[in-house]
Symmetry: C2
Subunit: 300 residues, 2 copies
């Protein structure tokens, strides 16, 4: 990791604009990495890729109240700005933008009237149990796009539905931003990195590998020639029930990555295999993308 001397911590919108105006005048490309903070190696990979593809990297940390449901973990979401600052600086971010709720919602989150609405895309998968989540995510990312005017923005593949919605938002609303999706970073035993993994008890943590194991099972079945989406989903569910008695499945779905509609028949072309499992009140997600070309599967 390189030294962090040049990282600027900014919480004010006008100061951010001034700082970026100079970069833009010098035609330097700007990469944005929006996060909720409590950074881990997954975020580090986002910042690293942003650094490789841009001159200036802005990482943002904002625990956005409008993307949490009333019973969710907004208040207890883990925060550690000192560590985050060190990590962002070490990975080469130039600016760590840490706005207050007042900066992002000048009239208060409860007075947000105009939203970015992902419509049907927000109703499937995670949206079924988190009905206002993606509206909150899309809206706050639109605000960040407007505050930073990045050339590129970076999102983790672990949050597949989020990445699909944000990429679609950029296209549908003509944001001049390239949305880059960066592969999921995993623990050695396969668990996808997430800031929420700290909530898990040791017993839950041990069983949390079942999500990746279910995805591996799906990959094996597809490699063996199976194509029936509902059959594969059923096998994945049984695998999780077998491996994780402490878990409670929210969903296991094979969906069209363009519309996020569940696939009821055979997997053809491109498919997103996604799942969410509760351990206590902690909800873990994971996914895998399969692309069939001339009947041959590739996994992403």
């Amino acid at each position: 990791m390189a030294p962090t001397t040049s990282l600027r911590l900014i919480s004010d919108r006008d100061e951010l604009s001034r700082e970026l105006r100079a970069a833009r005048a010098a035609e330097r490309a700007v990469g944005l990495v929006p996060t909720l903070g409590y950074l881990h190696a997954g975020h580090a990979a986002l910042i690293r890729q942003a650094r490789a593809e841009n001159d200036v990297v802005v990482a943002s940390i904002f625990v956005n109240p409008t993307q949490f449901g009333p019973t969710e973990d907004f208040e207890r979401y883990p925060r550690d700005l000192v560590r985050d600052r060190a990590l962002a600086g070490a990975e080469g971010a130039a600016i760590l933008f840490v706005p207050s709720v007042e900066t992002m919602y000048p009239e208060g989150p409860e007075n947000q009237r105009v939203w970015v609405d992902p419509g049907e895309l927000a109703r499937h998968l995670c949206g079924a149990s988190r009905p206002t989540h993606f509206r909150g995510v899309a809206t706050v990312v639109a605000k960040l796009f407007n505050m930073v005017s990045p050339d590129r923005a970076y999102f983790g593949a672990k949050d597949a539905q989020q990445a699909i919605i944000i990429r679609r938002m950029a296209g549908d609303l003509a944001f001049p931003v390239e949305v880059q999706v960066v592969p999921t970073v995993r623990e050695p035993d396969g668990l996808a990195l997430s800031s929420r993994n700290v909530y898990l008890s040791p017993a839950e943590r041990a069983q949390a590998t079942s999500l990746k194991q279910a995805l591996d099972l799906a990959r094996d079945r597809i490699l063996a020639g199976e194509r029936g989406a509902l059959d594969i989903e059923a096998r994945m569910r049984r695998e999780i029930e077998r491996l994780a008695p402490l878990g409670r499945i929210d969903y296991v779905t094979i969906a069209d990555p363009d519309t996020l509609q569940p696939i009821a028949g055979l997997i053809e072309g491109d498919a997103l295999i996604a799942l969410a499992v509760y351990f206590g009140s902690t909800r873990l997600i994971d996914n895998m993308r399969v692309v069939l070309e001339h009947g041959r599967p590739r996994f992403l």
Copy 2:
């Protein structure tokens, strides 16, 4: 009117970006005047104000399919690019941006998935009879903001609900754009200019002044000390019925200009007095703003 030699007609998004990049590199302020075309003196006033406040004015013409309802006048909406070009050039616009439907909706309007949703603001007034109109307007204006990155954008006061929603959108989504609302331009007899006035028969045209006359009546009643919103609305309705037997009232509403919620009690502070009347299938709108300061009314 000045000569039009320097107006550039652009329909391509990349060409627009290139053209504006030079302006931005020179730190020239950009004003945007989004229109549906068939320009009249009201649009001229928008372009003139934009010209006075910016270095470069982009006027856009786009008859946006997603803001028309299925039974509305999208197909027959009046178009006259030759005249529009002359007027925009004469008023000092530098660029007339005339995108195709494919440019604004690369995947087709029917495949727009992520929208800008004005929520409750879109349900009152004109939104009651045009349920998807303001979602279409807000979405296409967001696209134009992202394509042009204007410093300021100009909207007519005649479309009061639109101006309120767009200003709110700019704030709520952090668009770095100042939204300017320009006073309504009227015919000598008081009728607010609208591209749709050409639809009126001579008899309808004569009775169309009733909208402004009803607003004048409201102003007189408020000056006389009346404050009961529902009473004033009822008087306005009777006035229109008296003056315009060919008209059919869509709504007459006195509303809070911040929330657009109808005021049921007394007018206090700031109020929007708005109305819509059908003549045949042509729908005309008009409005007036009243601001009470220490009980004294000012009209805008």
